[in-house]
Structures are given as C-alpha cells and as structure tokens.
C-alpha cells in the first residue's frame, strides 16, 4: 500500500486492452454485449468498493451518481454537441461534485445513518430523473444519440468494446496508483480506527468526503461508459435493484481488493445469463436463487470468494 503499483499489475491491464481489440472481430455480439456490461459494472463496483471496502463508509447513493453520469454524458452530447471524450469526464466530475456536496453533511453520521441518508438521496435522485421531464424525458426514458469519438460515431457493441477496455484499463491503473498512495493508506486507516487516523494527523472528515466524492466520480465514469453501448436509459433501471446487484458484486467477490471485486463482477454478472438458460419451469425461481447465493456467500465467505481463494492458497502453502 506504498510506493507505486508493481509492473506486473500494470502489465495485466495491457492484456485487458488487447482483449478489447481482439474479441470484437470474432465473437457474437451477444458475448461482446455481456463483456461491455461486465466492464461497466467493474468500474461501478470498484468505485463502490473504494468508499465501502477501503474506507468502511456505508454509502448507498452510488446509483444516483451512475444516473448523473449517464444523463450528463448523453445530454451534453445531444443538447450541446459535446463529444464523448469531453462529455464523459465532465459528467463524471459533475457526479463527483454532487457526491462531495452530499458527503459534507452526511459523513458526520454514524455508519448506519450514512447508509440511510445516502439511500434516501439516491431515491430522491431517481424521482428527479422521473419527474424532470423537460431535461430527462422522465418516464418516457431518454433515447440517446450515438456518442461521437474523434468524429467517428460509436453505434454498436463491437465499436464500443475497445474504447470501454481502454477506459477500464485507465480506471484500474488509477485505482492501483490510488491503492499505493498516501490517500489510499488514509482510506484504510479511517476504516480500521478513526482514532489512530486522527492521532496521525489525518483529517478524518475530509478523508471520508474525498472517499465519497471519488467513488461518485467512478460511478459517473461508469455512467459515461453505459452511453457507449446502450441507446436508451429509463429511470426505473436506476433503482434499488441495481444498487443491490453492485453491492452483492463487491461483497460476494471480496470487498477491499480490486481482484476480489473483479471476481464478484464476473460471477454475478454472468449469473443472470446462466439462470436464464435454466429450464422454463424453473425461471420463476431466479429471484430465490439469487437471494440464496447472496445469503450463502455472506454466511460462509465473509471475506468474499477472493478471501476464500486466498485462504485456500495459504492453506496449501502452509
């Protein structure tokens, strides 16, 4: 958690970008669509993990910032013609700024009340997306025009995948650097013991506010990535079920580590596709299966699948 990330980690991101360029040419668009979804969820889940896994702050407003990222990027492109490469960061900065403003009053609350206050903010944001019809077309949903990138219009999953892979690689590189930085250490310090942090000269309140603002920025980026491969957004899609999905990815995968979250994203990202191919009679059981998997994961893998995997490895080495 000091110095800078190992070259091995940074190199693994090159594999990711390589996959982003190679896969689209020969895989059916359905699998590329799933890949794009998983990469988007990865940015979203890592953002949530920074505020929850690293800093131990119970922030449930994540999907509101994701929504700001989507509507922001899309409307900047449609209303002001701002191309994607400028629009997406701007929308993400807006999401981060809103996160910062919400964090100021919210972070003096104790864990559970921070969760309720941020969850309430997220529901209010979803309500605003629904009722502010002049801006977001409200319940009709917003049909987003395809984003432009260097004059080239990104229309389908195949075009989008390399760009998303690059964005994810950059986000993960930034995350590795953050992990190994002073701020990264401060996040972990306020999670483990606020007293030690205070006694070491860390402004606990400001660190919490930065944790929430950075995670909001990540959610904004994920929102921008959404507009690359989806053409429509509806407020009902930004509700509590999306939050529970991302939260489960972080917790089941293994909160507190980027690899753990990655594992959670892949497992829970592909799960609905697997459940969908269950025999028709069992489709009605999907919700119950999802709940059962979440419950078992929490009961038997407190540190997530990644924690279990490391315990097995240590078990083998010892």
């Amino acid at each position: 958690m000091y110095g800078s990330p190992s070259t091995r980690h940074l190199l693994s991101l090159l594999w990711l970008v390589l996959a982003g360029f190679l896969f689209p040419s020969w895989m059916p668009e359905y699998f590329i669509y799933i890949m794009n979804m998983l990469m988007m969820y990865m940015i979203l889940a890592v953002g949530l993990d920074i505020v929850m896994g690293w800093s131990g702050q119970f922030a449930f407003a994540h999907i509101a910032f994701f929504g700001i990222g989507i509507y922001g990027t899309a409307l900047l492109n449609m209303r002001l013609g701002i191309p994607f490469l400028l629009g997406m960061p701007l929308a993400a900065l807006l999401a981060g700024a809103v996160g910062y403003l919400i964090a100021l009053p919210a972070t003096q609350l104790r864990t559970v009340y921070l969760a309720l206050a941020t969850f309430a903010f997220s529901e209010c944001a979803q309500w605003a997306f629904r009722t502010w019809e002049s801006l977001t077309k409200g319940p009709d949903g917003l049909r987003m025009t395809a984003p432009q990138l260097f004059g080239h219009v990104v229309t389908n999953d195949r075009d989008a995948m390399p760009i998303i892979a690059i964005i994810l690689a950059l986000v993960l590189a930034a995350t590795f650097y953050l992990w190994h930085s002073k701020l990264g250490r401060q996040f972990h310090a306020i999670r483990d013991s606020e007293h030690v942090a205070m006694a070491s000269g860390i402004d606990v309140k400001r660190t919490k506010v930065w944790a929430l603002a950075i995670s909001a920025f990540y959610a904004g980026i994920a929102g921008g990535v959404y507009t690359l491969f989806q053409s429509y957004v509806h407020p009902d899609g930004l509700g509590v079920s999306m939050l529970v999905l991302v939260l489960s990815m972080v917790v089941v995968g293994g909160s507190g580590s980027v690899a753990g979250v990655g594992l959670g994203v892949v497992l829970l990202g592909i799960l609905p596709e697997l459940l969908r191919s269950a025999p028709k009679g069992f489709l009605i059981w999907q919700e119950f299966t999802y709940g059962a998997i979440l419950m078992l994961a929490i009961m038997y893998m407190p540190k997530g699948v990644w924690g279990l995997w490391q315990r097995i490895q240590q078990g083998r080495k010892a």
Partner: protein, 402 residues
C-alpha cells in the same frame, strides 16, 4: 494473480466462441432452413410482472404448436427459442442480442413492457430484424413508427383513453370528466388521447391526477377528483392502484359517478371484484377490452380449451388471450409470404397485414407509417359477477392525443 490474465479465463472465452461458429456458416436468411423457421419468443416469466407474461406467452406458443400440428407453414415447422425478459431494459436488450447473434432467429416475437422494448429498438433497427411485440401497449415504441417494430396488438393507451372518453361523453352523456392516470409513459399517452376526444366532443376535463405507480395512500388524489364534481372518472391505473381507487371511490360516496378503467388495471375482473370488496363500488364500473370473448362465450371456451390441452397444469387468467393476436399476425404473414422467406420481405408482408379474426374486436392492420395493429376496442360493463359488452365498437381516429 489478476483474473483478467488468468489462463482459465482465456479458455472459458475460447470454448464459448468455438461452440458458436457452426450455425454462422450457412449464408442465406438466418433462422430459416428448408424445413424450419426459428422464432425468438420472450416475455416476463419471472419478477413483478409475471402475470402479464406467462399466460400470453403460452397462448402464442399454443398457436404455433397448433400450426406445426397442422403441417407447419409451406412445409416448414416453427421452432421457438423461449426467453425471460423480466420486463427490464437491460434484460430485454440482452435477450434480443442473444436471440439474434447466438440463436440466429428469423424474427423476434415478444415483450409485454414498452419501456423495456424501447431499450432494444435502436439495436433491432440497426440489425434490421423484425420485432413483433407480444402484448405490450407499446405507445412509445410505435409512435413514431419505425420500419422493423410492430406492436400494440391489443390496442395502445391512446386507443383505451379515446375509447373510454368517447363512451363517457356520447353514451353516458358526461360533460365534466375527471382523469386519473400514472405519472409514467402509459399515463401520459392515455391522458393525452382522452383529453383530445373529450374536448373534441364538447366535454371538459375537470381534473387530471397523475399518481406514482407504487402509491400507498390514494386518499389525496381521490379527494381532488371528488372536489372537481365530475360526471365520469377515467382511470389508467395498474391493478393495485386501480383497486385502491375503487375502494376510496366507494368510501367517499362517489359510486353514482361512472368509473371507467383501462384494460391494464383489471387482469382478472373476478379478483378485482373480490379485492375491492364493496359491491356499491361496482355499480357503475366499465372497462375497455380488445377481444370478443366476452360478447361471444363460444370463442372464450375455444381459447381456454386449446390452452388447457397444451398446458393441463395451469389455470389460464383472462389476460391469456392477449398473446393470441400477435401470434395470429405472424402466422398469417408467414403464410402470405410463401416459401421465399427473408427479413425484408417479412417486414413488407407484415406491413400489408389486414387480419380480421373472430376473437378480436376489430381488424389488425398495419400500413406504411403505421405500426399499431389494433385501434378498435369495446367497452364492457362489469358488476362484480357478469361482464356485458356494450354494443358499440370504439375506434381511435389516429390523430387524438398524438
């Protein structure tokens, strides 16, 4: 050991890819071989809206099986790939992309929720794959009309709104009409059509209440309706709020004012009556219906009999019949096309659809620039036990509320 780099992950993707190369090889129309047509059939088979998906999907499957039993279409049997779209945008887009790029279906037939369908509209437009909605009202997906999307086989919200408005002003001689709908896309379309018809026929809209779908206490909006002293109340509410509305309507002594409910609010009238509980509230109750199985008992018996034969262990709800018209349209189009099947020819043939089936209250028609199939519905009076179809058929003129 970063997951993305691990050998296991690479092998997993390789296996997927290899297994799919085979069907992509043959060059002619995807989903069609000399003895088979592959159709992707999907609806919400789990989650909150399962009642709108399971029975209608089974009804469509039953009609396809019936066609196969009678020797198929021009020597080709229909093979169905059935999926669950859970009525959400992400899932439906995933299902559509799987059906097109993995199962290589010829046409898509499915979808009960307009918002989820709209999420896939741009994709099917680009991939040029015909998309025939199962039983969604589909306002946002058929207005403005797009070449590859066909829908509204049981009428759009515009049709329900205008039919109830016309019935209220003409038959019930209502001058002051109050409208209560949801604050979503269905509500907006229903209200716009109703308002246009009422004002065109000399009536006046005295109250417009737009309520959230998950409202828990409907006292305030109903009080606003009562305060506007209407001669008739038009409602576009979904099942749960529709019952809450009828209860408060009974509680606040408004039962002498006719209550006119759009189709989506009463999937099963008998359950609606039991839930409302107050017989007074059912004295002046009417609802729209797109099928003639109420006026003609024989048709209903035939439909239910067919359903029971294919699905003995499931008791079909009245909404089962909403899956029938879209299947009839697909079968009729395929029969008209003969042996030479391509997606473009399917769209051209479907665009010339003009099907009058005994089960429907009106013709199923498409035209260049028109993608909503049914525009005529009947109004049914329901007193808690029996349903009686009113004599007239109400047709939307294509302009009101557009």
């Amino acid at each position: 050991m970063n997951l993305w780099k691990s050998k296991g992950f690479g092998r997993l993707i390789g296996a997927f890819a290899a297994s799919l190369m085979a069907p992509m090889l043959h060059a002619q129309t995807p989903g069609v071989s000399n003895n088979e047509i592959v159709i992707g059939l999907f609806a919400p088979l789990s989650g909150p809206l399962v009642a709108y998906g399971v029975d209608p999907l089974n009804a469509a499957k039953m009609l396809y099986d019936d066609v196969n039993a009678k020797g198929g279409i021009h020597g080709r049997k229909i093979r169905l790939v059935i999926e669950d779209d859970k009525c959400t945008g992400n899932e439906l887009v995933g299902v559509v992309k799987k059906l097109i790029t993995v199962d290589n279906v010829f046409v898509l037939h499915g979808g009960s929720c307009t918002a989820a369908i709209a999420a896939a509209q741009e994709y099917i437009q680009r991939e040029k794959v015909p998309f025939v909605m199962l039983n969604a009202a589909g306002d946002n997906a058929v207005f403005p009309a797009t070449r590859y999307m066909f829908g509204s086989f049981q009428g759009t919200q515009r049709v329900y709104g205008s039919a109830l408005a016309e019935f209220a002003v003409k038959s019930l001689k209502a001058k002051r009409v109050a409208v209560i709908v949801h604050d979503d896309d269905y509500g907006k379309a229903n209200l716009a059509a109703a308002k246009a018809v009422i004002e065109r026929l000399g009536g006046e809209v005295v109250a417009q209440e737009r309520i959230p779908p998950n409202i828990s206490d409907i006292t305030a909006p109903v009080l606003n309706l009562r305060a506007s002293k209407p001669d008739a109340i038009l409602s576009g509410a979904y099942p749960a709020p529709a019952v809450l509305l009828a209860q408060k309507y009974g509680e606040f002594g408004m039962t002498n004012i006719p209550l006119l409910q759009s189709t989506q609010g009463m999937p099963t009238p008998s359950v609606y009556a039991k839930n409302v509980g107050n017989p007074d509230a059912l004295k002046n109750l009417y609802h729209t219906w797109s099928f003639s199985d109420i006026a003609n008992e024989a048709i209903r018996a035939r439909m239910v009999g067919m359903y029971k034969k294919s699905f003995p262990d499931r008791e079909p709800g009245p909404f089962m019949v909403t899956g029938v018209p879209s299947a009839l349209a697909v079968i009729d189009t395929l029969q008209r096309m003969g042996r030479d099947l391509t997606r473009e020819k399917f769209v051209d043939a479907m665009e010339k659809l003009n099907l009058t089936a005994d089960v429907m209250t009106g013709p199923l028609q498409f035209a260049p620039g028109r993608r909503d199939a049914l525009r005529s519905v009947v109004v049914v009076k329901f007193d808690g036990k029996t349903q009686k179809a009113m004599p007239d058929i109400y047709t939307w003129n294509g302009k009101d509320g557009n």
